[in-house]
């Protein structure tokens, strides 16, 4: 904290200093009276209330007054060398030098358009967020997108809309529910322990998106905290992605996974302009995987059960399949054809209103917005409401001093399912829930009651294995309320105009999140002695972040050698993050209506507890950058960043990370100047290092914990973790080679990059070590990991006519993840091929991740004869005495003899025994290529039709949903594919017989491996911009309306719900399992943008 105070003090001191300098610059002079009149230039009428001001050479207002009813003014000016300005709403600001005059008259010109919009920079600016550099001079690998391109999509947060738009940026949703967080991966995951999410930078200051790792909020997972929600997409101006290490290096340790730079809209000089935007959308879930209805299910289960040994279901113990009309309670409750998916689904809708006002004069500019967002998810019980406001206020005190301030307040209220997707969310339950069961309970008379049918247990089991998903969706709650206030102050001071500038930044970030959840008895059905009944939870986390930044930019001007350009830059950043969390979980409140854990209730088990925690993290960083170019042809950039982080012990607390990049603009060379159509061709190369700090605080202390129990009132103490004094920075060494090209007057532009990000001193949390150490695991720096690949982005306008044009943008990329070195403690393989549904994965040094191995599925044994073991010659194998030998599984350990109707696995070595020796390579779940493209059509700037497709090609995924909906191994519902299961000798089919808890019919085999290449018609938008004359008649500035359809169609051969599956997590054994039960909703949006 002391550090922080020092920083603040320092900042104020600097402000004071600059103010003093400003005062000192004012020349002292006697007051001179200047008078004048302000008239309209056309009507010659006097203008009343025009503000007239004396402005000094730096553009700073010294004194001001307003005109009277006759348009006259008198002002006592302090310096006759200054200027007088007159400004009035609806008129262009007029300025005249006093130059010793005592009468200055103004003729005001009315103007509906903005006055001299100051465009200081001569080209599009870009940069790493710290140092603005002309885009064409940037040596870095950066993708940029204008938020305008995304505004037609319905999205609560910007990441949703960004999917597939940027090359090298892979964004996947963690769930389809409103407000769910997205996984953002920039050029793959460079770590095997962290979340891999990139750093977010808003208007040049870091924006925290992670909840500290130590907090464990009830049933929620980290995905539940979608902090990007706190930035309203409507406020966003541009988004850039820093991809290569040279670009991210400047941002230090948190930028190791890439940086997403977001700039918000700011005010421009001009009359106030009010913009109202509206978006309304409806989402429809497409048809789910067809599941068995209750009748078909009631045939399957007794059959599957009897197939195990021959013992049938007991009609006494299991009355769910008796279908006895004389037993009304059981008959009515268990003879339904319930579509649980439909029962928990609804049409989602969304409304999003935004009003913003922006404008300003030469001195002050503002952008203010208020938005209201309300979304109801397609799953009952999910929704998101958000109210956000933002004011960006810029004040130009003088030409030398500017203040930029902003304050943003966001209030979110998210309702999600009680269980997260990780715990088998409600939709997953709806898939497996027995469909002959009723949603609501029928009483003994056979009358439908309004009570949810949640029996204590039935053939499928008990909570938490099974529950009534409708009751869970409607009655259980999980609310996340968030309030986040981000005030931010920036001061710019040009010490020497155009040569030496400083910027001071302070950003406060007050982020409160409150979770409350409640699990009612009517959802679990359990007796009220158990703690899963009326379980109430409240958790609160308050995070207070302070970020400070001090920049110094030195741009020496070489007047004698104008071809040389140099920019040098120094930045010092500090961050302090403090969080306080409190949680309380109790159970068995008196009724399902009492949802507050502070009401009388029980704290029985370990999980029912009162917990609180405090943590604090600090980091400091300093960056020095120099960029030099000669004629904008040869450009080099060098950056050195020093980092310090409180998560390390003293030995490795500080790190130094250099980076270097260069660009050669070949198109400026004379030998290429002959190519007429080539606008620009530049080659880039970069190398950089970026350090990453661990996720947890205080690991360099040997901390002690107490046991949860006590003896004689004393509880024991034990060392909780090893003291990690030598935990080091995980460092990413990124190399990047790229090219930028622009042709045909910008009608064809291309960026291409090849990169390799090598992560050294890779972290791994809780690596298993010998327990003789006293601990079972520890966090370590374990190895080296590579992410390598390439990406190409192309923007074209192939056809351009007078009235219409067609555009076509395209991006494609490939990424590979390879382990180069790993600790000997790290396991080398995963997956037991003798267990059902498991695939073997090997960690092979120098091979890409994501390969998996298993059996080869060859169909179903039609009859007893088919199960005979056959040798390599195809002839049946016989025993020594001529006895028939049948195929076995994993002899001699398991020694299961295959039965007619069982799955056939290819006997690779023809030994009549299916075991690990028959395991073969089945596929790899990393896409060879992924990307997107979007043709667009524009007619007279009135009608614009834009489309966007995204695709991933050549990758194999394991269709876990197919596995779970066709294994017939549990009492769970299955897909209609099992209707063609093997049922009697001679059946020729691809689905084996149903066997509950028996057989080996769903071993990891290529039966579930599918090529998931797809091309998705992501969006199509038609936008109509109304004619200017028409708008003028409505006294409006702009008016446009649009319609968007999203996820209209996915082209794939994949038989699962949605082929867009990535391997989740950062484990090197990760492979893509598709357990997604629901394809992305088809969403139709209408929108309106109106400006006044």
């Amino acid at each position: 904290m002391l550090n922080f105070i020092k920083k603040i003090a320092c900042i104020y001191a600097l402000i004071g200093l600059s103010a003093a300098v400003a005062v000192a610059q004012q020349p002292s002079a006697e007051g001179t009276l200047v008078k004048g009149k302000v008239l309209d230039s056309k009507s010659r009428e006097a203008l009343i209330g025009v503000s007239v001001a004396e402005v000094d050479a730096d553009g700073r207002i010294v004194k001001g007054t307003a005109t009277d009813v006759e348009g006259n003014f008198i002002l006592k000016v302090t310096n006759t060398k200054n200027k007088l300005t007159a400004s009035y709403i609806g008129y262009r600001t007029n300025s005249q030098p006093i130059a010793g005059k005592t009468t200055v008259n103004f003729m005001m010109v009315s103007g509906t358009t903005d006055l001299s919009e100051v465009n200081i920079v001569g080209g599009r600016m870009t940069g790493n967020g710290l140092l603005p550099i002309k885009e064409r001079n940037s040596t870095l690998s950066i993708s940029k997108i204008n938020a305008k391109e995304l505004e037609e999509m319905q999205a609560a947060s910007i990441d949703q809309a960004l999917q597939g738009r940027l090359s090298g940026v892979d964004i996947t949703a963690s769930s389809g529910d409103p407000g769910a967080a997205m996984n953002i991966r920039i050029r793959g995951v460079s770590s095997i322990s962290s979340t891999g999410n990139p750093m977010i930078v808003v208007d040049g200051m870091p924006f925290e998106t992670e909840i500290p790792g130590d907090f464990n909020f009830g049933a929620a997972d980290e995905q539940g905290y979608a902090q990007l929600l706190n930035i309203s997409p409507a406020d966003i101006n541009t988004i850039s992605v820093l991809k290569d290490a040279a670009a991210t290096a400047a941002w230090g340790s948190r930028a190791a996974n890439g940086v997403l730079l977001i700039t918000t809209k700011r005010g421009n000089v001009g009359k106030p302009s009010i913009t109202y935007t509206f978006k309304g959308s409806q989402s429809y879930l497409p048809d789910a995987i067809p599941l068995l209805n209750g009748d078909q299910y009631s045939t399957l289960i007794p059959e599957a059960y009897m197939n195990r040994t021959g013992l049938p279901l007991s009609t006494t113990a299991t009355r769910e399949f008796n279908y006895d009309p004389n037993d009304p309670y059981w008959y009515y409750n268990y003879s339904n054809n319930t579509n649980w998916i439909d029962a928990i689904s609804r049409t989602g809708y969304l409304q999003d209103h935004n009003i913003s006002m922006s404008g300003g004069g030469e001195k002050a500019r503002y952008f203010a917005s208020t938005g209201f967002f309300d979304q109801k998810g397609t799953t009952i019980g999910t929704g998101l409401k958000r109210l956000n406001t933002r004011i960006n206020l810029d004040y130009y005190i003088s030409e030398k001093i500017r203040i930029f301030t902003s304050i943003a307040y966001t209030h979110t209220d998210q309702q999600r399912s009680y269980l997260s997707s990780k715990d088998g969310a409600i939709r997953g339950m709806a898939y497996i829930k027995m469909p002959n069961m009723s949603v609501f309970e029928f009483d003994e008379y056979g009358n439908l009651t309004p009570n949810y049918f949640s029996p204590v247990s039935n053939v499928q089991g008990t909570y938490s294995r099974i529950y009534n998903p409708v009751a869970m969706a409607t009655q259980a709650k999980y609310d996340i309320g968030g309030d986040r206030v981000v005030p931010r102050f920036q001061l710019n001071y040009d010490i020497v105009k155009d040569i030496l500038k400083t910027t001071l930044d302070v950003q406060f970030d007050i982020n409160n999140t409150k979770n409350s959840s409640f699990l009612p008895q009517i959802a679990t059905g359990r007796p009220n002695t158990e703690t899963v009944v009326n379980r109430a939870y409240e958790g609160d986390i308050d995070i207070f972040n302070i970020n400070t930044k001090f920049d110094l930019v030195f741009t020496p001007q070489f007047k004698k050698a104008p071809d040389h350009h140099l920019i040098t830059f120094l930045s010092i950043m500090g961050a302090d993050a403090k969080s306080v969390g409190q949680e309380l979980m109790t159970s068995n409140t008196a009724s399902s209506l009492i949802t507050d854990p502070s009401a009388p209730s029980r704290t029985q088990n370990e999980e029912l507890a009162v917990v609180s925690g405090v943590s604090q993290t600090r980091s400091v960083g300093a960056v020095v950058t120099a960029q030099y170019d000669w004629k904008e042809k040869y450009i080099v950039n060098a950056t050195l960043r020093g980092d310090g982080n409180s998560r390390f012990g003293p030995n490795y607390r500080y790190g130094l990370f250099p980076s270097f990049s260069a660009k050669w603009r070949a198109s400026s060379e004379t030998f290429l100047s002959g190519i007429k159509n080539l606008d620009d061709l530049a080659f880039r190369a970069s190398y950089g290092q970026a350090g990453e700090a661990p996720r947890y605080d205080y690991t360099f202390y040997n901390r002690y914990s107490t046991y949860a129990w006590s003896y004689l009132g004393e509880s024991g103490v034990y060392p909780a973790n090893m003291e990690l004094k030598n935990l080091r920075w995980q460092t990413i060494h990124g190399s990047n080679v790229g090219v930028n090209m622009s042709m045909f007057n910008g009608r064809f532009r291309m960026d291409a990059d090849i990169y390799r990000n090598r992560t050294k001193d890779l972290y791994f949390d809780n690596l298993q070590i010998g327990s003789y150490n006293g601990y079972t695991g520890t966090n370590m720096n374990v190895g080296t990991l590579d992410n390598q690949g390439w990406e190409i982005a192309v923007w074209t306008t192939p056809i351009k006519r007078k009235d219409w044009s067609i555009g076509f943008d395209f991006n494609i990329s490939r990424n590979e993840n390879i382990i180069r070195e790993i600790s000997e403690f790290y396991p080398s393989s995963k997956g037991d091929v003798t267990a059902q549904g498991e695939y073997m994965r090997l960690l092979q040094i120098d091979n890409p991740f994501g390969s998996f191995y298993g059996y080869r599925y060859k169909g179903v044994y039609t009859d007893k004869d088919a199960t005979r073991a056959k040798g390599a010659s195809g002839k049946p194998i016989e025993g020594p005495n001529g006895q028939q030998i049948y195929m076995r599984f994993n002899y001699p350990t398991i020694d299961y003899t295959f039965q007619p109707g069982d799955a056939i696995y290819e006997d690779i070595n023809h030994d009549g025994n299916i075991n690990y020796m028959d395991v073969v390579y089945l596929g790899n779940s990393n896409p060879k290529l992924s990307g997107g493209f979007g043709p667009s059509f524009n007619w007279k700037d009135k009608l614009r039709v834009s489309t966007f497709f995204n695709f991933r090609l050549k990758y194999d995924i394991i269709n876990g949903t197919k596995m779970n909906t066709s294994n017939m191994f549990y009492f769970d519902n299955q897909s209609t594919a099992v209707l063609r299961r093997w049922r009697k000798e001679g059946d020729v089919t691809d689905i084996p017989r149903a066997v509950i808890a028996g057989g080996y019919n769903w071993l990891g085999s290529d039966r579930y491996v599918e090529n998931a290449s797809f091309l998705r018609f992501r969006t199509i938008t038609a936008r109509w911009t109304f004619d200017k004359k028409f708008i003028a008649r409505l006294k409006m500035k702009t008016l446009s309306a649009y319609m968007t359809a999203e996820n209209l169609y996915t082209f794939t051969k994949y038989t699962g719900q949605d082929p867009e599956v990535t391997a989740t997590g950062s484990d090197p054994f990760r492979i893509a399992y598709d357990y997604s039960m629901t394809p992305p909703a088809k969403t139709f949006t209408i929108g309106l943008v109106a400006g006044f």
């Binding site: 009631s298 059959e303 049938p312 008796n322």
Partner: protein, 741 residues
């Protein structure tokens, strides 16, 4: 640029192509297969000749179920089967049947789980399929609540027990007591070694094929359907009655049924069934469970079999042989009530035993009467061709109506003579403790000496029910001559030793007028002569008892006695003293040697190495034989070759001891009953410490020849032998027995 346009055209066409791919792949994978059969109801509809059955299904409320749900085996009678059925039962058609009747037809032919014919013969044990053992399957039909008459004659709502009463459980809530349907497949019959004769015994009018269901023939088997398998049958099968229903409604067995009503049934309010019944019927009546006594082998109204495993009813059923009224009454009066005036007076155990004798926990196939055993462990004692007048396979068992009763061993054996006579009730009670099952075995001979209650009381034995809940510990013994009263187990032990003296296993002593000795159950001998009987104790007290009445049973004879046979409490040495002391006694020389030997304790009569409670036999050579032994140096001689009864030298003393020990059989009593011969161990141990033996030839009654180690013979002098001592018999022999050292 043109390239790009071409590309977009190409792309569009690719998209169209891909669209087709996806849809096709999806439909192929998830679509309903073309070869999947429709559900049972639609299969029958499609076949066309099941119109009556379909109408019945509609009426029974099963249309919805059979049109899709569940997993069933359905025995479907054709329209022509229905026509025959209507004609036979004089019904105009399906419209004349109400929903209850339709349910009886539809649900009784509806078996849980689908079985093709090849699986019908297999039993679904907890461990898995057991091939060729099943002939019954549980159906969807059950009776539920019905009107029945209780013990008081009132008509009330009743529900059957669905478990055999074990004293605590007789009803399980979730179990509807579903009926089973019997069927006959070839592999089952072959596995059980049954033939068409067994089938046609019950169903003479139906030919046995490879697949019959009750009396119907399966004309088309294994018709597949989405939710099960249909087997077409050529007769309408309606729900069969259970044993309880059949006996209850057939007047031929009303007398037998009265036993149930009066002694073996109770009725208890069943809360769950009452609740369910009220809900379904809207009627406020209580429902009573009809509970059969737990003394019975099973409850005839339980449609489940033993329920040791869930499906044990598939492979077996109960059987009952029920005598018709005439045969039952005749047996009742002649046997059971021989010594009683009415059933009420009979011990209740008699009723239990009589009824249990007619109950089998097995299916009794007609060809297997002799090898199938009832609850009492006895085969069916009927001639299937003659004694059985009514035969049915019912829903929970096989029923045989008979023209004679099953003669239970407990009634026809010697046990029955005590069991069915109130004056021997104490004796019966004692026999029940251990001996009941042995002496009621009609394949073993027994002679039982009966003592009536009064005699036992006179001998000092009586029962005092006030002292202990356990009948075994209620016995008291008050010595008639005074002395300490024995209670609890001491009294019981004494009484059982006495009782054992009255049971002679293996021998049917028809007549006590002659003379003889007999080994009783406890290993002690009794002697009889001229209708007087005595044991060692009676000899001590000089009080032999008189035989009163002799009765003949299937496995022997009973003789009632005027007094109690008693055992001796005197030591063997004292008995030898008693018979050897007189100098005139032929035992005298032996006694003299014994008296002076180092193994004898004069004060108590103890002989070293002879323990109490162990049987012995003592062969005493007469004086002449002793003299001979002395002469031959086997015993110490005095001056002049006369016996030296009290030698001084240790060697001589040892000679005496060895001689005596070689004349005593260790742990063995033998007498001249002509029963047991063999080489028996003596108390004498040779130099190596090994036991020695004597060969006893007891092949002829009233004569016994002994052969010693030197192959010398000795004969019993009968008149002075068979002297009963304390678990010991003393015989006089005409030659001494020579051991070889």
């Amino acid at each position: 640029m043109r390239n790009l346009s071409y590309r977009s055209v190409l792309l569009t066409s690719l998209i169209v192509l891909a669209f087709g791919c996806k849809k096709k792949a999806w439909d192929e994978y998830y679509g309903r297969p073309d070869d999947l059969e429709p559900p049972i109801y639609q299969v029958l509809e499609k076949k066309g000749n099941f119109k009556s059955l379909l109408a019945a299904i509609d009426k029974a409320g099963y249309k919805r179920t059979l049109s899709g749900a569940g997993y069933w085996t359905f025995f479907a009678p054709t329209d022509s089967a229905f026509d025959v059925y209507f004609k036979a039962s004089n019904i105009s058609g399906i419209t004349a049947l109400d929903s209850v009747a339709c349910r009886k037809i539809v649900t009784y032919c509806l078996v849980y789980n689908a079985f093709k014919k090849e699986r019908m013969g297999d039993y679904q044990a907890n461990t898995g399929w057991v091939p060729n053992t099943a002939f019954r399957r549980r159906t969807a039909y059950y009776n539920g609540v019905y009107d029945g008459v209780n013990t008081q004659g009132q008509t009330v709502k009743m529900i059957a027990s669905n478990r055999n009463n074990n004293g605590t459980t007789f009803y399980v809530d979730a179990d509807n007591n579903n009926k089973y349907i019997p069927y006959f497949v070839d592999n089952f019959l072959a596995g059980k070694a049954l033939t068409a004769a067994d089938y046609n015994y019950f169903y003479p009018n139906t030919a046995l094929t490879s697949f019959n269901v009750v009396d119907a023939v399966v004309t088309e088997k294994d018709v597949p359907a989405e939710n099960g398998v249909v087997h077409v049958v050529n007769k309408v099968i309606t729900a069969l009655p259970g044993l309880d229903e059949y006996i209850g409604t057939n007047p031929n067995y009303s007398e037998f049924k009265k036993l149930f009503d009066k002694y073996l049934l109770t009725y208890a309010i069943n809360a769950t069934a009452t609740n369910n019944y009220r809900i379904v019927s809207g009627n406020a009546a209580d429902v009573y469970t009809k509970i059969y006594s737990n003394a019975l082998g099973f409850s005839p109204n339980n449609e489940n079999f033993l329920k040791l495993t869930d499906n044990d009813g598939q492979q077996n059923s109960y059987s009952m042989f029920v005598p018709n009224n005439a045969s039952f009454t005749a047996y009742l009066n002649s046997v059971l009530l021989e010594n009683y005036t009415s059933i009420d007076e009979l011990p209740i155990g008699v009723v239990y035993d009589f009824v249990n004798a007619h109950m089998w926990l097995n299916a009794v196939w007609p060809s297997k009467f002799a090898t199938t055993f009832n609850v009492l462990g006895e085969e069916a004692r009927f001639d299937p061709g003659v004694d059985v007048v009514d035969r049915k396979i019912l829903s929970n068992g096989m029923f045989y109506g008979t023209s004679k009763v099953q003669e239970a061993n407990v009634f026809s054996s010697v046990y029955g003579k005590a069991y069915l006579d109130p004056q021997f009730s104490m004796m019966t009670g004692l026999l029940n403790q251990e001996l009941k099952f042995q002496i009621s075995n009609i394949r073993q001979k027994y002679t039982v000496l009966l003592i009536n209650n009064a005699t036992l009381n006179a001998a000092g034995f009586f029962a005092d029910p006030s002292v202990d809940n356990n009948p075994a510990y209620q016995w008291r013994y008050v010595p008639p001559g005074g002395g300490s009263v024995l209670t609890s187990s001491s009294a019981l032990v004494r009484l059982l030793r006495v009782l054992n003296l009255h049971v002679i296993p293996g021998v049917d002593v028809k007549d006590l007028s002659g003379s003889g000795v007999a080994l009783t159950y406890g290993g002690e001998f009794v002697r009889y002569e001229n209708n007087k009987v005595w044991a060692a104790g009676n000899l001590d007290s000089l009080r032999p008892v008189d035989k009163l009445v002799t009765k003949t049973a299937k496995n022997g004879t009973t003789h009632s006695l005027s007094g109690v046979l008693n055992f001796s409490e005197t030591f063997i040495g004292k008995h030898i003293e008693k018979i050897g002391s007189p100098t005139t006694s032929a035992y005298n020389y032996f006694w003299q040697y014994l008296r002076n030997s180092s193994i004898f304790t004069a004060a108590t009569g103890d002989i070293l190495n002879i323990a109490a409670g162990t049987p012995y036999t003592i062969f005493i050579p007469d004086n002449a034989a002793i003299q001979k032994a002395v002469t031959e140096g086997m015993l110490p001689a005095g001056a002049g070759g006369v016996p030296n009864f009290n030698p001084a030298s240790l060697a001589d003393k040892e000679l005496v001891n060895s001689f005596i020990y070689y004349h005593i059989l260790n742990k063995k009593s033998v007498a001249t009953d002509g029963q047991e011969s063999g080489s028996f161990e003596t108390l004498f141990r040779d130099g190596a410490g090994d036991p020695t033996s004597i060969f006893v030839d007891n092949s002829l009654a009233n004569a016994m020849v002994l052969t010693d180690m030197n192959n010398r013979k000795a004969n019993i002098i009968l008149a002075q032998s068979n002297y009963l001592s304390n678990r010991c018999v003393i015989h006089l022999i005409d030659n001494y027995l020579k051991y070889t050292e």
